[in-house]
Amino acid sequence: MIYQDSTTVLEVRGLRASVNGIEILKGIDLTVRTGEVHAIMGPNGSGKSTFAKVLAGHPAYAVTAGTVSLEGRNLLELAPEARARAGVFLGFQYPIEIPGVANSQFLRLAYNTVQAQRGSDELDPLEFDDFVREKMKLLEMNPDFLDRSVNEGFSGGEKKRNEILQMALLEPRLGILDETDSGLDIDALRVVAGGVNQLAGKDNATVLVTHYQRLLNYIVPDYVHVMDGGRIIKTGGSELALELESRGYDWVSAEYKNAARATA
């Protein structure tokens, strides 16, 4: 939702990043304000997942130019765990499995780490149990999730619900969801999208990275950005997503190239 009195959450200017010496992001500009939901779409290999990981500080990517700030704070000088504690959340496309570690144990450690950072009270296992069960209702999750090892043997849908559960617990300023719809059947998609909608509020912001328009039937974005070749080449409202669904991505790329030629 676009609000009059919103403040800037994320500000990206001229961001370039490479992996193994190959440049993937070639100058990205993006401003995200409180209350807003942005969708970043684009064909495979356009750099949208890389963009999500670079914002979270994945060590495989080197930032070569540009600035990124979160609520005025330089994000690029923070280690990944410090970015998380500052309020950046990345919902993973492929969440890792941690055999032998109970989900409840992992969730509580993450929760308490972030709580401590915010100067809020940490919860003991019993208090946390009540708290997390409440949050799990939001995602229609079975309580036995808590006793299972983190993501081990989870179905695709269960893994994604677990990601959104973590977002619900950590209450980030900026939630970035990387291909959250991949591997979800229609019921799981509805539940996950419902969770995201409930979490999106006036004081936080959400960035959805997705290849398909499908997710956007459930979560209506305020802005849709098309990425290609490591750049944002078009920005529009939610109607742009529908147009992409019917016409594909090629026309946007062609339009962008023509415009570039015209200015050259």
């Binding site: 993973f92 055999p99 992992f106």
Partner: protein, 478 residues
Amino acid sequence: MSTVLQNLVNQPYQHGFVTDIESDVAPKGLGEDTIRLISAKKKEPGWLLEFRLKAFRQWLTMQEPAWPNVHYPKIDFQAISYYSAPRAKKKLASIDEVDPELLRTFEKLGVPMNERASLAGVAVDVIFDSVSVATTYKAKLAEVGIIFCSISEAVHEHPELVRRYLGTVVPAGDNYYAALNSAVFTDGSFCFIPKGVKCPMDLSTYFRINTQESGQFERTLIVAEQGASVSYLEGCTAPKFDTNQLHAAVVELVALDNADIKYSTVQNWYAGDENGVGGIYNFVTKRGLCKGVNSRISWTQVETGSAITWKYPSCILRGENSVGEFYSVALTNHHQQADTGTKMVHIGRNTRSTIVSKGISAGQSSNSYRGLVRIAPTAAGARNYSKCDSMLIGERCSANTFPYIQVGNQSAQVEHEASTSKIGEDQLFYFAQRGIGAEEAVSMIINGFCKDVFQQLPMEFAVEATKLLGLKLEGSVG
């Protein structure tokens, strides 16, 4: 991120100090005269000297095993001293008379030696270099008929028991290092649980090598009679030296009908420095015989130290319905090499065995699981379940699994599972993205990975093992 991992796995060794204590050290070298000297120093009966000499003559004809997946320069057995004992002024009447320097050493190591001060309620036998220096709670255990003392003492006070069982599970000529041990062993623990007695407390042996050029060759013998049960713990440390020291121990367990022996080890011998200089060569033979029906022997080991570990705690399941278990965590770092696993030999009907092995390799280390499951033709209805998991930390270490399965009876069921996983950038990034630093992440991953083994350890030992793995892998993140 690789520097983060590197700092995590580069923790200094905590037990590397040397105790300045006067020792009685035999001249270096090995011959029949050395063995006669050891035997004479210990005032042993003739049968034991014969046992030693027979073993030595066999050893001379044997070859060092070349099959383990470990590499080290040839050991000069003539450059080792085979006897080193803290020099006692007189025979000790009680633990209060132990050299205070020695007591301080064990205090530093966190070993409870003072019976009155000890709240842990664990009876401890302490072996310093080659000699047992103290055994706690002896009198209390004797009340229920349990014998717990050094094996030297047992040779004098219970010769009939020692003679009946010594070498019956690991014969003198069993393998190269067992033969060497049989020839030159200087001390160790002896434990006898009589018929029907459940040992009221955990028994523990603490091994410490102190002298630079001595080898340690201890011998442990545990016998549980019909219906008896005992839980036995073993801990080991050594100072840091830049030369390698040899540790060749033999442990024999005998379980009669319905007896139950649980043997837990936390091994933290000095592993050498980060360049692979120094450290203990840990060449150990441990074997249990489930002699009686329904008997059970369970090995749990947490192996974190030693430059080289060569060790296969095994079970011979002879009694009908007997049970053998092996739970192992082996962690190698830097240039450490481990070739460890177990042998489960099923002879009796309906015998069962479980193997759970967790190997963790970091640095440039090499970690191999080697295990044998043999079902003899007589072992109708035998069952085995094996699970071998390896975890790699970083890019330069290696993990291997060598399972040997020999099935001689059609009615047997044998299952083997194996997996390999890796702690790398993506795992740590996932934790980091939830606000959790690398140190805590690695600790959580490792503890989760080892859970099946840690839950087999007695409570205090489990805490110690968790901490020890932590010390080995955690550290300042930079």
